[in-house]
Symmetry: C2
Subunit: 107 residues, 2 copies
């Protein structure tokens, strides 16, 4: 048995991504951020759908065309349809933000 | 945006199950237990694979043929292959146990 809060280095110069499940139609990743944000002008544009949950910490996610980002705290989750462009505007510098991301295709 | 720790009644005479994502190949459920266990002699025997995470609380899961259950705490996760018979032996009476279960088919 493994734990999503284990195996995280104290210092994180970059975001840490680990695949915790890799199946035919679904992939689950643990992502750990510590103050990181997406580079200026960068947008995620993913071919898969994503269901994302914040397990710890806090983050602001901006969807293209939206006036303001969505602020997420522990327990908050949302769906990001494939090709819905988005970026991470901010993650809290106060602690590590642990995300659970479930990527899946449809059909 | 929704929160996995919201909308949980203080009293739970039965386990509470809510589907938080329902897509073609994957379904995500939030399950809340408060001291409940599987009925005597009952085994889950599921046609889908399951990836299950404990978000809060504690539980003991017994797999058929194993001598002892696996005790899970916050952050612990494991995979339950389809038709791997298992039962919930115990969930802590001290607080609500919140599970995240990702069900998926392969192929």
């Amino acid at each position: 048995m493994r734990n999503l809060f284990a195996g995280i280095p104290a210092e994180l110069p970059d975001e840490l991504t680990e695949t915790v499940l890799d199946a035919a139609n679904v992939r689950i990743e643990r992502i750990v951020s510590h103050g990181q944000a997406s580079p200026a002008g960068f947008w995620y544009d993913q071919s898969e759908h994503e269901w994302v949950l914040v397990l710890q910490g806090a983050a602001r996610l901006l969807f293209e065309g939206d006036a303001a980002p969505v602020e997420m705290h522990a327990g908050d989750y949302l769906e990001i349809p494939a090709h819905r462009r988005h970026r991470v505007e901010w993650t809290t510098p106060d602690e590590q933000t642990v995300w659970l991301a479930v990527f899946y295709s449809v059909g």
